[in-house]
Structures are given as structure tokens and as C-alpha cells.
Amino acid sequence: MATTFYAQASANRRNSFLLVLVVVGLLATLGFLIGFAWSGQAWGGVGWLGIFGLVAIVMAIGSYLAGDRLVLTVSGAREVTEADRPQLVNVVREIALAAGIPAPRVYLIEDSAPNAFATGRDPRHASIAVTTGLLDKLDREELQGVIGHELSHVRNYDIRYALLVGVLVGTIALLADFFLRATFWGGVGRRSDSKGGGGLQALAFALALVLAILAPIFARLVQLAVSRQREYLADASSIELTRNPYGLERALAKVGADRDVLEAANRATQHLYFANPIKKWEERSRGLFSTHPPIAERINRLRELTGEQPLAAGDTAGLTGLE
């Protein structure tokens, strides 16, 4: 594995890009198969892709424009100034300076569970929210690591990235759903537009059916994999800013071992947080179905940067089931 944060960051960017290509390929294949199965023509799917793509985009635009306000309200965050929490606001300013972006607005969530999130479509419209639990339990170095992670999400345009992937996955889901409904309610197969090539069309139809069932699940898995890659990227980018892997590592260990549950978080917002706030849910479904990588793995990657030994089995026990 890589031993500089530059190398780790490059690997993460490359992986997330490849994963997006996989989703695009999946969408194109599904569109092509459905189009061909219904119309017998190679370009038959383009119209359907266009329609559902547009629907998915419209749904996403609302989230893009109003999303950060909504998330902040739902999470019960209130804005704070330097007078309220000087250290927090100062740390945010410091990291923003290192990142070369304007200082984002800072919000506070009253909750003893230590966590944080960042929203914002680009660095000029960014907000960061942290819990009072995080401020109480972390020291300045650790706080810098967490803020660095969150600001890196903003700087790497992860919100937009997630939106792009969301639109692709949404289009796949819409298209597959429409196709399955049309097939089972509208009679089996529609070959009225067929221009010959009946055998091939039947094959395409069968493949389209299989893909329409599997693709949405697979796309969702890829979406989660992308989310995990961007989390690793945010960790590596945080180190690029603070040049201090120990701060972030200690923060991860503290947050991972903490037993408090973040009340304001739910499945809709869990992907935004520094560490997955839904602990019970995560104990049951780990690995592929998680928006965040396991904390033990995140710590081990940071240890690679400093040349330390990875966590021993005994240490990870305290962090298992908590991501």
C-alpha cells in the first residue's frame, strides 16, 4: 500500500473515477438492452435514457441547491461565531487557510456523541457542523484532523461527486423499474416495433430483464464503494493540510470507541458524517453495504503514512461494529 498521502489520494481518486465508469457502463448497457429489446434498433434506448436521466437530474437539482440548508436544519444545527466558540472557529479558519479556500460557516449541534459533517456545493458555499460532544472530547490537534477531513470533502467537491453518482444510480433505478413494470403489466414483451432480428431481440429482452433486476442493487453497491473511497480520500487530504497523521488517528480512535449515539442522524444523512453515526445498523451490515470504511482500516492507512504497525486484533475489538 501507499506510504505518502499523495499516493493514497491519487489511488482514491483513480478508484472512485473507475467506479463511476462502471456505473456509466451499467447504465449504458441497460439502456441499450432495453431499447433494443423494445424497438429492435441499436439506438432505441437513447430516448428512454434521456427521459429518465432528465427526471433524475431534476430530482437532484433540488437537493443540490437547497440541500445544505435542509441538512443543517434537520440536524438541529445552529450557527456559531468566534465569540461563542473561539477555538472551533479559529481551527476552521486555520484549516481553510491551509486549504486555500474561504472559511466556511460554522455550526454547532447539541449532542454528546462526537461527530461532524460538511455540506456545500463548492468551497464558496460551504458549511461545517460539529457536535458539542466532539468539542468536549477532542483536543486541538484532533479537532484539526477532523475539520481537515470535513473541509477536504468540500475541497474535493465530494458533494457534487456524490450527486453525480446519485443521478446515475437514480436513472438506473428509474429505468429498470419502468421496464419491469411495463413488461409485467403491459404484457410480456413488446415486439410491435420490431424490424426483424427477432431472435436477437428476444435475447436482448431476456438480458434486459435480468439486468433490470440486478442493476439497481449493483449500482447501489458501487455507489457505496465510491462513498468509501471518498472517505479515504478525505482522510488523506486532511493529512495533506495538517501534515499531522497522529491528530486524525487519535480522533478516529476516540470517535470509534465512543458509545454515545447521535440523535439527529438517520439513514438519509448518515453518509455525510465523519464517522457513521448509526452504530446498531452498522453492526448488522458491514463491508459492502457501508457508506464509511471501518474505522480500524482508516487508522491503519494513517499508520502506513507514519510507518507504525497496524492495529492489533485486540485494539480493533473496541472499534468493531462502529463505523
Binding site: 479559529n90 479558519r93 486555520e94 487557510l97 491551509a98 486549504a99 486555500g100 493540510l241 501534515r243
Partner: protein
């Protein structure tokens, strides 16, 4: 081949080359400006520290009356740093003077550990936080400067920007290189 088509092809190629050239030039300008902006950021933070120091000295003087030498060192180091930075340009003298001020401040805070009443004073705590964040911002600003210089230098030195850089006068910039501290270890008087 038909001469008209040959001409068209040549025109298209020339236009493409010009467009690429313009894009590369703009990229170089943007990166160079970021470097200059980063220099300005460092200066802003250094000046902020200059302004905070008198407040700090005044606040602690009442408690630390016996530590005149430490306080005097801080005040003098600040004056030297202000003088060294007066020209506005980043010079070796300025860097040395600023590092001396950092050392003097560290001595002050090390000595302040001996005065519990001082540490409880709200005013002093607030100032300490201000100075801590300013020190952090100075180092982050310098780090960002180095990152910007790295980005700019790499662009100037690699193909294809390198073709544009030479003729239009884009040259490499120097990294910020911290001079060794003027004072090595803060001296703490043990009682």
C-alpha cells in the same frame, strides 16, 4: 489532395494550437497569482501577531512583574520583527526576526506556567488562544505558499506548459525555507 482542403486542415490545426496555447498561458497566470496571494496571506498573519503581542505583554505584566527580562525580550523581538517587515518584501532578515519572536513568545508561555493566577485569567486565556491560532495560521499560510509554489513550479517545468512558460517570462519561485530558530530552547527559570 485538393488545395482548399489542405488549407482548411492547416487553419484548423493553427487554431487548435492557439487555443491550447491560450489555455496553458491562463493556467500559468492563475497559478502564479495563487503564489502571490499566498505570500500576502503570510504577511497578514505576521502582522496580526505583531498587533496581539503588546496586548499580551500588558495583560501579563501585572502578574509576572518579576519576569522583566522575558517580557523585555518579547517586546524587543516584536519591534525587530516589525522593523524587518517594514519593506513589505519577504527577506531573510524578516524570517530570522519572526522566528526570534516565536522563540520569545514560547519562553513567555513556558514561564507563565509557574503562575496559576495568570493561567486562570480569562483575558490571558483568550489572548493565548489568539496567539496559538495566529501561530498556526502563520505555519499553515507558509505551508499553503509552499504547496502553491510546488504546483506552479511543476506546471512551469513540465510539458506542455513549459513551451509557453519560457517565452512569456514565467520563472520558478523559491520555496519558503524556515531558517534555524534564532533561539534554540526557551530558558525556563526554575524556582
Amino acid at each position: 489532395m485538393d488545395p482548399a482542403i489542405s488549407l482548411l486542415v492547416i487553419v484548423v490545426i493553427v487554431v487548435l494550437v492557439l487555443v491550447v496555447g491560450v489555455l496553458l498561458y491562463n493556467g500559468l497566470v492563475t497559478k502564479r497569482n495563487r503564489v502571490d496571494e499566498a505570500v500576502g496571506q503570510i504577511e497578514v498573519q505576521l502582522k496580526r501577531r505583531h498587533d496581539l503581542v503588546p496586548n499580551l505583554v500588558a495583560a501579563v505584566r501585572d502578574y509576572m512583574g518579576f519576569e522583566q527580562d522575558v517580557l523585555t525580550r518579547v517586546t524587543e523581538a516584536r519591534a525587530s520583527a516589525v522593523a524587518a517587515g517594514a519593506t513589505g518584501a519577504v527577506t531573510r532578515d524578516q524570517i530570522v526576526a519572526e522566528n526570534a519572536l516565536t522563540g520569545a513568545l514560547r519562553s513567555l508561555f513556558a514561564v507563565a506556567e509557574n503562575y496559576p493566577a495568570l493561567k486562570a485569567n480569562e483575558n490571558v486565556l483568550a489572548l493565548q488562544e489568539q496567539l496559538t491560532t495566529t501561530e498556526n495560521q502563520i505555519s499553515f499560510a507558509r505551508q499553503h505558499y509552499n504547496a502553491s509554489v510546488n504546483n506552479y513550479n511543476t506546471t512551469v517545468q513540465t510539458f506542455p506548459s513549459l513551451v509557453i512558460a519560457g517565452p512569456f517570462g514565467f520563472i520558478r519561485r523559491e520555496f519558503f525555507d524556515a531558517e534555524p530558530e534564532a533561539d534554540a530552547v526557551p530558558a525556563v527559570a526554575l524556582r
